[in-house]
């Protein structure tokens, strides 16, 4: 019973799922950036498809990460110290992941050059935010305080 009610299962879920949005958002932005500079239409499309797939997987992975994190933090959405900084980066990152995914799904191939550049900037911003949230998450676990 403790497995389900205690922190262990949530720690495992958080540890297992939290790396998905961090890693996948980073590679998604890089894939799309490659897709933006490559000339061959066939290869370009494949990079954009990979960027979309990794973005979706990262966004889906963010939901169990957020749920388990909230339970571990006893539903604290702010907090102090490392937890506070974790949340400062986490909430904008979570919102940006969802917004980017929806935008990509709605727009699909009908994007302009300017629209794509704005998307790419936002994607790298999301990658930075989610990585910073991950860094401060590590500080909660391994920091000395």
């Amino acid at each position: 019973m403790k497995l389900f009610l205690g922190a262990n299962i949530w720690e495992m879920m958080h540890g297992g799922s939290t790396h998905l949005p961090i890693a996948l958002m980073l590679v998604s932005a890089v894939f799309d950036a490659f897709g933006g500079v490559i000339r061959s239409d066939r290869v370009k499309d494949r990079f954009h498809a990979a960027g979309l797939f990794t973005l979706m997987a990262g966004t889906l992975g963010a939901f169990p990460a957020v749920l388990s994190g909230l339970i571990l933090a006893r539903w604290e959405i702010g907090g102090t110290g490392a937890l506070f900084w974790h949340h400062v980066f986490l909430w904008p990152a979570f919102a940006l992941l969802i917004a980017l995914s929806i935008w990509r799904l709605v727009v699909r191939g009908r994007r302009s050059r300017t629209g794509f550049l704005i998307y790419l900037l936002a994607a790298f911003a999301a990658a930075f935010l989610v990585s910073a949230a991950g860094f401060w998450g590590g500080e909660i676990l391994l920091g000395g305080s």
């Binding site: 205690g6 720690e11 571990l72 959405i77 995914s101 929806i102 994007r111």
Partner: protein
């Protein structure tokens, strides 16, 4: 619809959905936390020291002997940090108690049994 306008409308839609999802998450978490705090405060009003559960009382005793020297008698912190409202998991607290923190806190792994560490965690969770 022109491509630029279509992208803009899609962007607005995406931001609205993201705001609803994240806002809903934050609001729900706030409601759950408020309910937990309310239950805790009601429990504190109806309870007193003599009504501490045996495990919390045992943890309190262990705390007084082993921890209060650095964390103060009321656990509000002295040489060591305040232990009220800890956000670390039970397992993490027990690991810190067992292994200590290099250069900051001694290890109690050899001194305290598993049941003692669980009692300490229960006592720390009972702190208001």
């Amino acid at each position: 619809m022109k491509r630029g306008l279509f992208e803009f409308v899609a962007g607005v839609l995406a931001l609205v959905v993201a705001a609803v999802v994240v806002g809903g998450t934050l609001g729900s978490a706030g409601l759950v936390r408020a309910a937990i705090e309310k239950a805790r405060s009601e429990s504190a009003i109806s309870g007193n020291a003599s009504q501490l559960s045996p495990i919390v009382a045992h943890g309190q005793k262990l705390f007084a002997v082993n921890c209060s020297h650095c964390h103060a008698d009321d656990a509000t912190g002295d040489e060591g940090p305040d232990l009220h409202g800890l956000t670390k998991s039970d397992e993490r607290i027990k690991t810190i108690v067992t292994n200590g923190i290099k250069g900051e806190m001694p290890a109690f792994g050899k001194k305290l049994q598993e049941a003692d560490k669980e009692a300490l965690v229960e006592f720390l969770r009972s702190l208001k």
